[in-house]
Symmetry: C2
Subunit: 351 residues, 2 copies
Amino acid sequence: MTHANSHTLYDLLGITLPIIQAPMAGVQGSALALAVSQTGALGSLPCAMLSPEALHAELTVIKQQTDKPVNINFFCHPLSEPDPQREAAWLNALAPYYQELGVSPPQSSAGAGRAPFNTEMADVLQAFQPAVVSFHFGLPAPDLLARVKSWGAKILSTATTVEEALWLQAHGADAIIAQGLEAGGHRGMFLTDDLSTQMGTLALVPQVVQAVKLPVIAAGGIATAQGVAAVLALGAVAAQVGTAYLLCPEASTSALHRAALASPAACHTVLTNLLSGRPARGVVNRLMRDLGPLSRLAPDFPWASAALLPLRQQAESLGRDDFSTLWSGQHASACQPIAAADLTRQLSVAR
Amino acid sequence: MTHANSHTLYDLLGITLPIIQAPMAGVQGSALALAVSQTGALGSLPCAMLSPEALHAELTVIKQQTDKPVNINFFCHPLSEPDPQREAAWLNALAPYYQELGVSPPQSSAGAGRAPFNTEMADVLQAFQPAVVSFHFGLPAPDLLARVKSWGAKILSTATTVEEALWLQAHGADAIIAQGLEAGGHRGMFLTDDLSTQMGTLALVPQVVQAVKLPVIAAGGIATAQGVAAVLALGAVAAQVGTAYLLCPEASTSALHRAALASPAACHTVLTNLLSGRPARGVVNRLMRDLGPLSRLAPDFPWASAALLPLRQQAESLGRDDFSTLWSGQHASACQPIAAADLTRQLSVAR
């Protein structure tokens, strides 16, 4: 299949293959991004869990290794204060697990990580002036966004509804990532917290294409060349693919996560707020079965995660994924343990 | 786009366009089915709410009007007994509405309609020997299925998971309708009642294609030629399209239902069990907002609906859709008030 948008795609993102490797915080760094970008597709560096120093180090590696564009991705959630009452209730709900595993609850939730894009990050970014920057959960404050746009970076952000797509278009995005309900990891929703508004990729993409003037990138459930061809038929200019890369050697996916993805368990993913405080799709594990995947007990994003850290570490040391983040979309059965460059070329084959 | 499956499709269903008009009980009869089948696609007659006499009458009309195949569709749910305690609790939950509208609750739930396929229906069907028969909620008992297969009818049924697709293949289906989460109306799920197992069309279809040897028909969120091209790219032999037909003059969609579909309200559909007892997707209305779309208060399928009937009738007479079934998939924005034959040809245009 050829499509009319190759020109748009090159002008917009500097790429020749209609594939964006989805940024996946915690399971990949510059190695995967570089392997994908070197094929002519767009690799992504997830920065939501990086310190400014770590961001600097990763951007340095990328600059040394390639002249091709790499998408630098940040979360930009409004940062809520920790709520001591909800944290206490959460620790209380988890108390039986601390006892079972013989570990102590953390003294504070400071280890929750996942800072939103801020001035410090913008300072680091400005030194490198990456050509493509993407955001999840909306867009940063206008002054921060203006800084990123000042060196000509193209801005991508995620919409999960037509309303969010229109908002992003009105607030300075250069392209929209339409994220269908099949997608793994955190839902990018930012104008609503009502999960019933979330649509499947096949319904969402054409409605976003219809509503906005910007190029649309499809995400969610795309894991094969046929899936890429399908979303191009729907009017997307490119496909953002995440889960399919998780078994690649260049990803830092843990052994437990890899085992879950390669097992029949990966047939059943759910949206859960237990692991971070925001709904994200992952393979069902013990914590979700015990508490239900969506629970009011979990504190707001990102504070839910700190209390789980000692449980996760201890359980993982015993070879158990009971408290682990096993992010996955709804098409993990297509995952293959092959080089990221080979996967990227496979995904592009129907073009 | 051409595809390799035209031969399969003609041999299987006797059709030349890769479109099946989805059977939609309560909003269409033989008129829509005939209009679609006469184009070379497959129209469908929904029989879940028909008496044997009404079925006979509809099949007679079809026989008089066309030699082309029309898909005759039945529900085949296990029929539960009404549960007086749950019915009383349901009436109690609805009591404020009876008072508000000045109507009386029904004396029994006998009016719930929606009988599963049975011997009487099979007797009527045998006299007409339709070429294509489809089922929702699994397959009927082996003896009933054998009767339908005895005259060479091709059997279609709906799968919402890979497991259901494998079950249908093992139990005598000739093709699988893979129904993604975007689809309007009742979810065809029959091996699980866990909604978190339900996948978007873009993820479900290729995994079912991969798992079974039978031809796969994609359903859910397909409302344009681009959507049809997309699911053919995923390996489906045809697309089943429902919601897009609801504004056609040949459908019997009510004025309130048409108005909801043409309004911004149709952007927000939910899965609800309030209206029948089984999860089905429709436009959000007052009852769903008041009680939450999924509630343990609603009795099992189909018994939930009888209690709503007097409320629905009275509210509708006042021009309100507060208790109405406004079934819709997640892509109602593509609905057009055009002739069903024209819509069918539009949907097929990318071939």
